[in-house]
């Protein structure tokens, strides 16, 4: 057994090489990951993700819109514009896919294109039939996704086809796309429940042969659709649920390079984000997500989660403007009328709000104790406290100092806010209150008990 001796240091070790605070905590790897495939050990180098062109693709207006009331055209145009600023000039958010079926769909695409934004590139989404393909041509898109269901659940029980009929139909539409100069992106629906060697790999190899003589920008793309959220990121898990094995076989046995592979997940088993991030690490470049994870049933990979993961993996912002996420959630709430759960990571009203007095005390003394990263600088969201009978005088002091905008030595001590804390406690102990104290009530208390400070710092 190895013996560890206490190192009684004079200065704290805050492990800032991993927790820089100016960025989300960084993800560092210390070796290769091993996976057993066909009885042999294969290796994945997770550090490859640092140099590979991983990026995010968006389906907020396609899958994300299937699970909620439709967005208005102006909503989509505004969100598209914000998405462009969020992903930044390097195109971390590389593409966004749109429906093409209604007049409103097509007018929205025209309005988004009129903004002349380089990223995200607008792509389409169609079913695999030639009638739908006409819409892509009419809109002048360079790439379209097409539904190519890959499990027998879909082929036999939804489409009433044989595997041969399904494959022939899919390939026919992909060929039509290529003839029109449009890059096909085949969405292999339900792939984590499919017969991989019996259908998926033969189909992908046939698609690959179809574009083997095409220039790079026209080679077929493959979207791996974990339609029911069955995918698993664990090492050595059995196929077809294994994400590592699936990506390895597509790259090494079917010849699909990382830049032509995309992961599209669903959250039915609470695995949506980690599966997407794992897919990046196991060797594909594009992670498909939606704003705030809106999507069929339990949703898709949350785009903002992918953005934070990207920063953590790359170790830099890479042109990302993370504060746009805060603008987006405000837009959802104020204009679209959609409210997120208050504890939703990065954007929920209370994501960096503490309630316990002991936490508020820590936060007041040294913000980093209870704040995940510099949310003020990166998200324009200072850490907050929610005031109840459990918040303590530390919580009141934190709230008041934030409210008055006091910094450094200006900040009020707990003795200065003791009267407000007494009022709060009386609310619960004497009035029998059951709800949190509102910001408006606390503002009134500041006016009453700290009138000089209110006059100086909040009056105007």
């Amino acid at each position: 057994m190895r013996t560890y001796e206490l190192q009684n240091v004079s200065q704290p070790n805050l492990l800032e090489n991993i927790f820089p605070y100016s960025l989300p905590p960084l993800i560092k790897f210390e070796g290769k990951i091993q996976e057993t495939i066909d009885g042999k050990t294969v290796e994945f180098d997770p550090n490859e993700v640092k140099t590979r062109d991983i990026h995010i693709t968006d389906t907020t207006f396609r899958d994300g819109q299937q699970a909620r009331p439709p967005y208005k055209k102006e909503h989509m145009v505004k969100l598209y514009e914000m998405m462009s600023r969020l992903g930044g000039p390097n195109g971390v958010i590389r593409q966004s896919e749109f429906f093409l079926y209604t007049k409103n769909d097509r007018e929205t695409i025209d309005a988004c294109r009129s903004l002349n934004l380089r990223f995200p590139e607008i792509t389409g989404w169609i079913r695999a039939n030639k009638g739908d393909f006409r819409l892509v041509k009419e809109m002048g898109l360079k790439e379209t996704g097409m539904l190519t269901s890959s499990s027998d659940y879909h082929i036999f029980h939804k489409q009433n086809q044989t595997r041969q009929q399904a494959m022939d139909q899919y390939v026919e539409v992909a060929e039509a796309a290529l003839e029109a100069g449009i890059r096909p992106r085949c969405h292999l629906e339900d792939i984590t429940r499919a017969d991989l060697p019996g259908f998926v790999f033969p189909f992908v190899q046939r698609l690959e042969r179809l574009t083997e003589n095409q220039p790079a920008h026209m080679k077929v793309k493959i979207r791996l659709c974990d339609t029911m959220g069955f995918g698993l990121s664990y090492p050595n898990v059995a196929e077809p649920r294994s994400i590592p094995k699936l990506i390895w076989r597509l790259r090494n046995e079917c010849g699909i390079s990382s830049d032509r592979l995309e992961w599209h997940g669903h959250n039915d088993f609470h695995k949506v984000h980690i599966n997407g991030a794992s897919a990046w690490i196991y060797g594909l470049n594009a992670l498909n997500g939606t704003l705030f994870g809106f999507g069929e049933r339990c949703g898709n990979p949350p785009l903002e989660g992918a953005i934070v993961e990207y920063i953590a993996l790359k170790g830099s912002l890479s042109g990302i403007n993370l504060s746009v996420v805060t603008e987006m959630v405000q837009y959802y709430e104020k204009v679209i009328g959609t409210h997120l759960p208050t504890n939703y990571p990065f954007v929920g009203k209370d994501f960096n709000t503490t309630r316990a007095g002991i936490h508020a005390g820590g936060l007041r003394k040294f913000e980093q104790i209870y704040n995940i990263f510099d949310t003020t600088a990166l998200l324009n969201r200072p850490p907050r406290v929610s005031i109840t009978d459990k918040s303590g005088t530390d919580g009141i002091a934190l709230w008041v100092n934030e409210y008055l905008g006091l910094k450094g030595d200006e900040r009020l001590s707990i003795t200065k806010v003791a009267k407000i804390q007494r009022w709060v406690m009386d609310q619960y102990e004497k009035e029998g209150r059951m709800s949190s104290i509102t910001d408006e009530e606390l503002e009134e208390q500041v006016k009453t008990n700290l009138p000089d400070y209110y006059e100086k710092h909040r009056r105007n």
Binding site: G392, T393, S413, I414, T415, A418, K419, Q421, R422
Partner: protein
Amino acid sequence: MTRREIAEHIVKITARELNMNAAEIKETDNFAMELGADSLKSIELVAAFEEEFGVSVIEEEALKVQSVGGAIDFFDKLLNKH
């Protein structure tokens, strides 16, 4: 202000804040154990002492004070710069 005068103020404020008779308060009394001051009441006492003497104290140091005599010594030291 002499230590005796400071003591009179401390006892008066303590009696008012804790709703007690000043004659019952002794210098050896511990604010929490003998006089029943909880954490908020201790903060309120410090705030009241600050107001009474017209000073601001370092809260961590002030809240370390346990007894009435300790509070008298604390403010005697602060006000008379011993």
